[in-house]
Structures are given as C-alpha cells and as structure tokens.
Symmetry: C2
Subunit: 259 residues, 2 copies
C-alpha cells in the first residue's frame, strides 16, 4: 500500500498576517504523515517592487514578469518568505528545507512562448522530478516550495504556486497516496459567496457540472476547480479546499473534491 | 579511508561580476569529488539597502544588522544570490540545493550578546549538523550555503560566510578528508602586497609565525589565517587560499596552509 502524503498550498492571505502564518505553520508541523508545503507570494513582492520604483506591468489583466520584477520575486519568494517559513517550521520541530524548482533540479519549466502577450519570465512546467522529492522525504526532510522554477539553462522562472502544487501532487502520486490541500481565505467552496457557513462539503465531477450550470460556482473558483479535477484525473487521491483550520485534526468544515 | 570533500567559499568580488561568477561555477561544477559551496553577500545587499533608503549602521567599524537590514540580507543572500547560483550550477549538471543554516536545521547559532556593541541579528555558531549535510551529499546533492543561520526558535541570523565555511569544514572532517578553499581576489597570500606574482605557496604554523613577526602578513590577512589554523587544529586536512583559478585541475599558483 502506498504511504500517505499531504501537499499543502498556502496563499497570500496567510503569508501577509504573521499571527495567521505562525498558527498555520504550527498546524502544518503537527501533521503526522509525510508532507510538503508550497507557498505563494502575496503582496510582499508588489510592496518591494513599489518601494524600488518598479511599476507592475500588466497585459490583458495579467501580470508580466520582466527581468527586474523576476529579481524581486526571487528575493521575496525564494528568500524572505521561504527562509522565514523554514525557520518557523524548525522552531516547531519540523525539519524543513526550502527549495525552488531549481534546487535539486526538481521542477523544469520553459519560458512561456510570446503570443499576443509576452509574459516575460513566466514559466510553464515541463517536468517534476518526483524521485528527488522522495529522496528528501525519505531523509526525514519536509520540502517547502516557493513559486519559482528553472529552465535547466541557468534561468529562474516565475510559476503559479497553485500549478506547482498540483503538478507536484501529480508527480508524487506515482509513489504516494496524495492529498492536495489548497488553503485560502474561505472555509471552502461556498454555495452562497456572502455566507461563510454555506460550505459545500463534497464536490465530484457530476455535482461540479450541476453547480457550474446553475451558476453557483463561478469566476475565480472555476479555474481553481478545473485545476483540482486535472490533478484527480492524474491519480491524486483527494483535493481539499478551505482555510488553514482544515489542517486541524478532526476538522470537517472544508470542501473535499474527488472524481 | 575517508572520502575527499571540497568546501569552497566564494566572496564578494566573484559574486559581483557575472562573467567571473559563471566561470567560477563552471570550475566548481567540474570538481569530481563531493563538494559544498558557501557564498558571501558582497555589495548586492548594501545596494538594495540603499535603494530602500536604509542606512548602513556601523559601530566600531563593524556592520550592525537591524531587523530591516536582516530582511535585506535574507532576500539577497538567501534569495537572489543563492537561487541564481543554484540555477547556474544546475545548467552545469551540478545537482545543487541552496540552503541557509535554518534549512535542515544545519547550522544553529545564537544572537551575539549585547556588549559594548549591539550587533543586532548577527549570529555566532553553536552547532553544525554534519549528519544532515552527509545525507544530502549521499543523495548526490551539492549543498550551496548562504551566510544565514538560525537560533532554532524561528529567528534567522546573519553570520559571516568565512566562519560558516570553517565551521562546516570542521564538522564534516569527522567523516571526510576535507579541503577548505577560500576564493578571493588575489592569487594567494602575497609576500609583497603590490606584486600579484609573489604568492607564498605553502604556509605552516612555524612559517606563519615568522611571516607575522617580520610584518609580511598583516592586517586583514591575519584573522583569515587565524581562522584557517583554527580549522586545521580541528582536523580539517588542508586550507587553500587563492582566486577561482585554484579550482582548475593542475593549478599550482595559490597558497596551501597546513599545520
């Protein structure tokens, strides 16, 4: 039987509040099974870019990573956030090592081709080296990923943290029974966006179609759920969406997604 | 017989010149034995601090790391420099993982006690977890250290890269036949500071005393050499001082220090 592995992605809202981050990392450290953390960047990179006088470049509503903004991302994601998280996990007796996709050659990506939009140094994932991650886990190490990958030719690339989480989960599912946790600011997928208590406890492909057709799930949640089903299609056992309390033992108030 | 291990420390002058850094990392990647890289910070941190309007705080000629300057150090050393070096090593087929002393709980330190000077978040090393480093090496990984440690209670600390290199070399000497390379801007310890060709090829404790008593070695080189002899006293096999060309196979123009 495959061993369980929890892959937890935390986003901006947790990273921007040091009390929440400390609480989140304590809960994460207490997970008994083998585990991996992935963190996004949040507003810290935008703040630093602004302090340095860099303007956020947008095109078609999407952020462009030029060379100087990539430097900011590497400093904030790979440095400040990643190392601070590692130090906090260590203080909770969790033996973490912080990595980008370049470390251990774990995530190879290519620079997104220039089409109508030139996204700059944005990376789309080609390959996840699950064997290296397994070696780290076997050595008792908890890998902590920031949202950076590389192209194998010396170039770091900025890659969406949700995508890193799902691609890692897919790669690890070859050897582990993998559960993917997406932590965000809500208790889960909500039936009524204005009612935090209206968490839908379980979604499968069939009910997802209904929820989508009835307009209950819409906008930003749609690509998130498509991403979840993509992971499930590729043998990830279970995807959970909720706030950090879903990591608490016995917690039930979050959304579980299965095929 | 113990296996050979090379521990290479590179400093500011190499990090500030991208052509030199690329050349240095190519030479490092070509070393056939197991190896570890340690890098300092150079001027990049000072540059970023200045851009952010932080003034370098000095006391008695020494730099003070306040909370905001520590953030800069974590971003530049742990992020920008460390991850860029890892990506470049990967492009040279060297399977590097970038770490601070917090990663894998490898280097525990304490905040330097406040005496006449309060150094802020400067860390003095208490313990190096050589076993974790050995595990990484055994997994075929080349660790790349930046000049950061932690106190085990969630606090990152700024620590001198030369000291990290020597303490790591001492810890690893329990299981490896360790050579410690200090790369700097000169070809080695010079008999005449104005003559780059006047490299002293070998220094031992006896000749060091003579060189010091005759005023041939002085100022900045004295603490460097004291540091080397401290490592040798603690079972490091050999310490070499020179520029990056000393990593080249067959190179002879550098200074070797033994007991």
């Amino acid at each position: 039987m495959k061993q369980p592995l929890s892959i937890v992605k935390i986003g901006g809202n947790v990273l921007e509040n040091s009390t929440e981050l400390t609480r989140c990392l304590r809960l994460f450290a207490q997970l008994k099974e083998q585990k991996i953390l992935i963190h996004g960047g949040g507003n810290k990179a935008t703040e630093l870019a602004e302090k340095l006088g860099l303007k956020a470049k947008m095109s078609g509503g999407r952020r462009i990573t030029d060379a100087r903004n990539l430097e900011v991302a590497v400093m904030v994601y790979g440095g400040l956030l990643n190392k601070s998280i590692v130090a906090l996990l260590q203080s909770n007796s969790c033996n973490a090592i912080g990595v980008s996709g370049a470390d251990g050659n774990i995530i190879l990506a290519h620079k997104r081709p220039v089409g109508e939009i030139d996204f700059g140094f944005a990376g789309d994932i080609d390959h996840v080296n699950g064997q290296m991650v397994s070696q780290l886990l076997e050595a008792g190490i908890t890998p902590v990923f920031c949202a950076l990958t590389h192209n194998g030719k010396g170039q770091l690339l900025n890659t969406n943290a949700d995508t890193i989480a799902s691609e890692l989960a897919i790669a690890m599912s070859q050897d582990f029974e993998t559960t993917l946790y997406y932590c965000f600011e809500k208790k889960g997928v909500l039936r009524d966006i204005k009612d935090d208590a209206s968490v839908i406890s379980h979604i499968d492909k069939k009910s997802y179609e209904d929820l989508r057709n009835n307009g209950i799930i819409q906008e930003g949640m749609l690509p998130k759920l498509e991403n979840c089903f993509h992971a499930l299609d590729k043998r990830v056992s279970k995807v959970c969406i909720g706030d950090i309390d879903m990591l608490r033992t016995g917690s039930k108030l979050y959304t579980t997604i299965t095929l």
